[in-house]
Each structure stands twice: as structure tokens, then as C-alpha cells.
């Protein structure tokens, strides 16, 4: 049934490009809004919706995963996609450009929806490339020089990443003989002597995913791409694109039992820890609002990978929960930066100060986002970091658990630094007639802030229903 989320979107993109074009240009935004809301509904009511269409998609040839991990990813895609769409409506003035942007956004969402449901290593690569191609185009959407620079860096590192992944696919094909997830799972579970070819293949595939998710030695492209992209694209990139194209596949491989060898786990732990530390330290130095958030994003991805490195079910649960939280919180903070930029025209944090007095909604939601991502109770970020720390501790990785706790202090420090620079203190001169950003910026940030508060307070109630089943492997 998840197939409908691809088919509907694709049909929508095709239809709005047919004549009468003037009419479809007007409704393109609303159609995209409707489709993403539909996806949201689908995630919460997977069974009750379209039961009649069930037979259409029960064909075996489109084999798909529909476990809780995919559902969580589909949910995040829908939420971040909606937020990006609303901000795009406010950000892009020209109707023609908005139309092109909506089409690309829908194609990108198709790619991500496909990526989180496929059951084949190569099809995963294919959808990853769809998302990447759509995102390169979206980054250079406003055609300024920095955007081209960010896009080209992303392009080159992605090219290397996908080559590595394809080399991994080739080696896996030569040793496992098939590429479907089931075949991989069976091979890694049952083969006594896992051949070197398969291990190297998985390692190469993982190296590609590391580049795609911007882990530390390979993070060069990420801040540039995030900083230079138009605001709605930054939200999309930081919130969901890097997560679904890099980290999701890592989680999936982990749940398939492919990351069993101890050396792979050590690799994940080492890369995760390095990423947390260097991302957080680099974030402390930044003067550009979006660049600071980009480094913060790198650091948070480090937490997800560290949690994967624990290698237990709780570790996977922590990784998935943190991934969801990060999608919510980072898009919230990027919406705030977009709101500030829309009113002041600058992203230089040195030229800001005391904006909370003039932009109360933006200021308040940004405080919530910053506290939540630093792991302050009762927000949801606290719980996901707690799960990660417990998972690491239970796996016997005491030093890494202590490191995760200490590093969240670093997160707190750069987030508070950002708050002090931008929102608190005395209002700096020249901004006396600063107004609150438009409705299209306020609405998503309030909704995202409510989600993180609700998830944080309601966590004890949903822990049994939403979080833990994720870790139980079911097809």
C-alpha cells in the first residue's frame, strides 16, 4: 500500500504538467499540500485507508518493507515536506518558480518514500540517486554563486559515495548472489564463514553511506550545501534528506544483521564519537546562523550513528527515535533562521541581538527547539538522548555513554550561545520596526514545537506503542 504514496505523487507531478497549465500552476501548491497531508493520514491509519485498493498493490513484484521503521521515516518525510512546502510558499514569490519548486519537492518526496520502503540494495541506490539529483537542482534554485559552490561540492562527494556503494553492490552480488534484503539477511545469519568479499562489499556500501550522511572525515560538503541552499531547501536537507539517504540505510542494514562483526560496530562507534565532537566544536565557532545549525546537524547525526554502534535493539530504537526528533527539531530551528532572515535579510549572528522582543513566536519556539535538542527534560530530545545513553551503558560501552552525556553539554553551550546572540539581550540598533515573521513561518514552527513538547510529556505513555516495536524486527 505504501506504493500508493509513490504512484499518487508521481501521477500528481505528471498531471500538473499537462495543459491547462495556467490552472495547474495555481493549484500545484495546494495539491502538494493535500498529498503530504494524505501521507500523514496514511501513516496513522495504514489499514483503514483505501482497503479497496489493497489488491492493486498486493502484487509481489513490488516487494516493500512496511515495518515501524519505514512508518517513522514516512511520518518524518511528510512533516518535514509540509514544513518545507509552507516556507517555500512564503519564500518564493514568482508563481512559475514556485511551480517548479513544488514539482521538484514532490519528486524528492517520491524518492525518499521509495527509499524507505524498498527491499533491495540496488533499488535503494536508485531512489537515493533520485533524491540526490532533485536536491542538487533545488540547491541551485536561486542561481547564486554560493549555491553553485555548495551544490557542486555535494555533487562530487555524492558521486564518490555512490561509486563506492555500487562497488559494494558488485562485490555483494559476487559473493551473496542476490541483492534483496532477505537474501542478505539469510546470508549473514546462516553463513558460518562470511567471505571477505561480502564484508568488503558491506564496508564499501557503508563508506558511501557515511559520506552521504556527512560523518566527520567526509563532512566537507554538508555545511556549504546547507548554508548556500534556499531556506526551504535547507529545511528539507537538514530535516530529512541526509537522514533518509544516509542514516536510514545504515539503520536498515543494522536491523538486517549485516553489521554484526565487532569491527564494524567499533567503526560505527569511533566515527559517531568523532562526528559528535568535531561537529559540536565547529558549531561553536560559526558566525552564520545556518552554518552553525549545519554543524549542529552533523553533531546530532553522530549521536544516531553512535547509538547504532551499540548494536542492540535498544540502540536501534534510540537511533530511530533520535532521527525522528532531529527531523522535527532541526527543521524547527531552520524555520526560525528562515523567519529571522525573511525580516532582517541577514544570517550573520554578530549583527543580531534581542530579536525575541520583536519576534516573540519565533523566539519562543527557537528556545524550545534549542533546549530540546540539547537534551533538557521534559522535551523529546531528552528522552532520545536518554535512550541512547542507556543503550550504550547496557552494551557495556561505559566510556561512550559518559562521552554522550558530556557531549550534550557542548550542544547546550552552542545552542545557548546562539540564543544569546540572536534572540536575547538588548535589541541592537536599526531594528526598531522589526515585525514578527509571516504566518507561513509561524505556523510550522508552532506545530513543530508542539510536537516536541507533546512527545516529551507523553513519552512514558507512547514508549510501549511507538518506540519499542520499532526495534522488533518485523516485515
Amino acid at each position: 500500500m505504501t506504493l500508493l504514496l509513490i504512484i499518487f505523487f508521481l501521477a500528481a507531478v505528471l498531471i500538473i504538467n499537462l495543459p491547462p497549465k495556467a490552472f495547474f500552476k495555481k493549484i500545484a501548491f495546494w495539491l502538494a499540500l493535500f498529498l503530504l497531508l494524505l501521507q500523514l493520514v496514511f501513516v496513522f491509519l495504514p489499514r483503514s485507508l483505501w482497503t479497496g485498493l489493497n489488491t492493486l498493490c498486493s502484487s509481489n513484484n513490488f516487494s516493500m518493507v512496511q515495518d515501524s521503521l519505514s512508518m517513522v521515516m514516512l511520518l518524518s518525510i511528510a512533516i518535514v515536506g509540509l514544513v518545507a512546502l509552507l516556507v517555500a510558499k512564503a519564500h518564493i514569490k514568482s508563481e512559475n518558480k514556485l511551480f517548479n519548486f513544488v514539482c521538484l519537492l514532490l519528486l524528492c518526496c517520491i524518492g525518499m518514500n521509495g527509499m524507505v520502503v524498498v527491499t533491495d540494495l540496488f533499488t535503494l541506490y536508485l531512489f537515493l540517486e533520485i533524491v540526490a539529483a532533485a536536491v542538487y537542482i533545488m540547491i541551485v534554485f536561486e542561481k547564486n554563486q554560493n549555491a553553485y559552490e555548495g551544490a557542486f561540492k555535494y555533487f562530487i562527494l555524492s558521486a564518490i559515495a555512490t561509486t563506492l556503494m555500487l562497488a559494494g553492490v558488485g562485490l555483494t552480488l559476487s559473493t551473496v548472489g542476490a541483492l534483496s534484503f532477505t537474501a542478505l539477511q539469510i546470508y549473514f545469519a546462516n553463513t558460518a564463514q562470511i567471505s571477505a568479499g561480502a564484508t568488503i562489499g558491506v564496508l564499501l556500501f557503508m563508506a558511501g553511506l557515511f559520506i552521504k550522511s556527512g560523518l566527520v572525515p567526509f563532512h566537507g560538503w554538508l555545511p556549504d550545501a546547507y548554508q548556500a541552499a534556499p531556506n526551504p531547501v535547507s529545511i528539507l536537507l537538514a530535516g530529512i534528506v541526509t537522514k533518509s539517504s544516509g542514516v536510514y540505510a545504515l539503520v536498515r542494514l543494522g536491523m538486517l544483521g549485516v553489521l554484526v562483526p565487532e569491527s564494524l560496530k567499533t567503526l560505527l562507534l569511533a566515527f559517531g564519537a568523532a562526528t559528535i565532537l568535531i561537529g559540536a566544536l565547529a558549531a561553536l565557532w560559526q558566525k552564520d546562523f545556518k552554518r552553525m545549525l549545519a554543524y549542529s546537524s552533523i553533531s546530532q547525526v553522530g549521536y544516531i550513528v553512535l547509538s547504532l554502534g551499540a548494536g542492540t535493539l535498544l540502540g536501534y530504537a534510540g537511533a530511530i527515535f533520535h532521527m525522528f526528533n532531529h527531523a522535527i527539531l532541526k527543521s524547527l530551528l531552520f524555520v526560525n533562521s528562515a523567519a529571522v532572515e525573511s525580516r532582517t535579510g541577514t544570517r550573520d549572528m554578530d549583527a543580531m541581538g534581542g530579536f525575541a522582543a520583536k519576534m516573540p513566536w519565533t523566539g519562543a519556539t527557537s528556545v524550545i527547539g534549542a533546549l530540546s535538542i540539547s537534551g533538557i527534560p521534559p522535551f523529546s530530545g531528552f528522552w532520545s538522548k536518554l535512550v541512547i545513553v542507556i543503550a550504550l551503558w547496557k552494551a557495556g560501552l561505559h566510556y561512550y555513554a559518559a562521552f554522550a552525556i558530556l557531549a550534550s553539554l557542548l550542544t547546550l553551550s552552542y545552542m545557548l550561545y546562539m540564543q544569546r546572540k540572536v534572540f536575547f539581550g538588548k535589541l541592537i540598533e536599526g531594528y526598531d520596526d522589526l515585525r514578527e515573521a509571516g504566518f507561513l513561518y509561524i505556523l510550522p514552527s508552532v506545530i513543530l514545537a508542539l510536537i516536541t513538547i507533546g512527545l516529551g510529556i507523553g513519552f512514558p505513555f507512547i514508549v510501549g506503542t511507538m518506540l519499542m516495536p520499532v526495534a522488533i524486527f518485523n516485515w
Binding site: 540526490a132 542561481k143 554560493n146 561540492k153 561509486t163 555500487l166 548472489g177
Partner: protein
Amino acid sequence: MNGDLNQLFGLFLLFLSLLLIAGVYLITATRNLIRILIGMEIMTKAVTLLIIAAGYVTANIALAQSIVITLIIVEVVVLLVGAGIVVGVFMLTGDISVKALKNMRG
């Protein structure tokens, strides 16, 4: 028979890794954006042939072929987007050297 195939695959693996390294070297050594795209193409050639070779030695050539056909389509679209980015850089800066891409630091 299996030994022969092993040897053949080893041969492909050896030469294709070298081809891959040539592509990576070209990407890192050059300052010309179009040459970077050419290096990317060389790398893609290497993995394409690797997949075909892997399919051949495991008697799974149909799967390998269908994968490679998809791969070639993806390659064209990605290259098209890359070429568009290079042309855009040229339109904005009048240069297609890596020097045109050194604005952002830190």
C-alpha cells in the same frame, strides 16, 4: 571451473580497482570542473563493468544486466545535472576552475 571463474573475477577486480583509482586521482588532482565530471565517468565505468563481471561469474547475468541498464540511465541524468551546474558556474563567474568555488570556508 570455479577456479577459472575465480581467477577471471580476480583479474577484473584488480584492473577495475585501478580504473577506479585513476578516476579518483583525476577528481582530486584536477582544477577543471569538466575534468572532474570526466573522472566521475571513469569511476562509473569501472563499477558498471564490475557489476557485469560479478553477474557473469555467479551465473546471474540477467540480474546484472538489468541493474546495469538502470545504472546507465541514472548516470546520464546525474551527469546532465552536473553539466548544468558546471554551465551555471561558468555563467556566473566566467570560469570553470575550482578557484571559482572557494567562497565558503570554516
